[in-house]
């Protein structure tokens, strides 16, 4: 019984020797990780440009008011005439 257990352990040790072999990581991974460690990517957060939005709204409001004033003036002119 003991002899058989010893043999079993020997077989397992033999298998461990055979199957647990060192593996090399991919060269690309090793290089990439090295550059990632030392060269942190510069991250810039882009915020929406509110100035353009403000300018657009102001222009729209101004054009609307101008149009309204023009139409009203035009209509008043015809009303007075008639």
């Amino acid at each position: 019984m003991e002899v058989s257990e010893k043999n079993n352990s020997d077989v397992i040790e033999q298998q461990l020797k055979e199957f647990l072999r060192p593996r090399s990581p991919e060269t690309a991974f090793v290089q990439e990780l090295k550059s990632r460690l030392f060269f942190e990517p510069e991250i810039t957060v882009e915020y929406p440009n509110y100035l353009y939005l403000l300018l657009f709204i102001s222009l729209s409001l101004f054009s609307g008011a101008l149009l309204y004033w023009g139409i009203r003036g035009f209509l008043d002119f015809f009303r007075k005439k008639s």
């Binding site: 257990e5 079993n8 352990s9 397992i12 040790e13 298998q15 461990l16 020797k17 199957f19 647990l20 072999r21 060192p22 593996r23 090399s24 990581p25 991919e26 991974f29 090793v30 990780l33 090295k34 990632r36 460690l37 030392f38």
Partner: protein
């Protein structure tokens, strides 16, 4: 040998002082070992690369707090790797999607096709049995067989005596044998 040791000591001192180039040398010296350890603990290339990255990111972040002792620098990295792998398995009750070609068991097939045909079942069984062992026992086997380290060096890395490692290895073999006998 002593010259090498002195050089690596100097490199380590510089790295502790925040020298990135020195840390780069330590990285090149240890990346393969750490990857191998994690690869055999996780069983696939994808997770091994991910955890290896985290080990070195963490090491770089904390290197200035590293206290030099008689224990080699690699032992510190192994400890970080050991903890991250333990976290990975604890959190990893979730299902993981692993590309088939990344699987450790299939790697054997790719590397030795003829032998694989004969031994595929044995390989599967052995690696599955190893993954059922406790973290420390898996570590002993990987350091002994993959890294080919003697018990004394394994003891230094694991913070135990040479005798304790010998005994741990013996118990590991018995457990492995029992697991494999049960699964027969």
């Amino acid at each position: 040998m002593t010259q090498d040791k002195n050089y690596m000591d100097e490199v380590l001192d510089n790295a502790i002082g925040g020298d990135e180039e020195a840390f780069g040398i330590l990285y090149q010296e240890n990346v393969k070992k750490i990857y191998n350890y994690i690869y055999y603990r996780t069983g696939n290339n994808h997770d091994a690369e991910d955890i290896t990255s985290r080990v070195f990111q963490r090491a770089l972040k904390h290197i200035t707090r590293y206290k030099k002792t008689n224990v080699p620098f690699a032992a510190w990295l192994y400890r970080i790797a050991h903890n991250l792998v333990a976290n990975f398995h604890r959190d990893g009750k979730r299902k993981k999607e692993v590309p088939l070609e990344d699987h450790a068991y299939l790697q054997v097939k790719i590397e030795m096709p003829e032998r694989q045909i004969e031994n595929q079942q044995e390989v599967d069984k052995l690696l599955e049995a190893i993954h059922l062992l406790s973290n420390d026992r898996q570590m002993v086997l990987i350091l002994k067989y993959v890294e080919d380290l003697p018990n004394k060096d394994i003891g230094i890395i694991m913070g135990r005596s040479e005798g304790a490692i010998k005994s741990l290895y013996h118990r590991t073999l018995i457990e492995l044998r029992d697991i494999m006998n049960v699964s027969d």
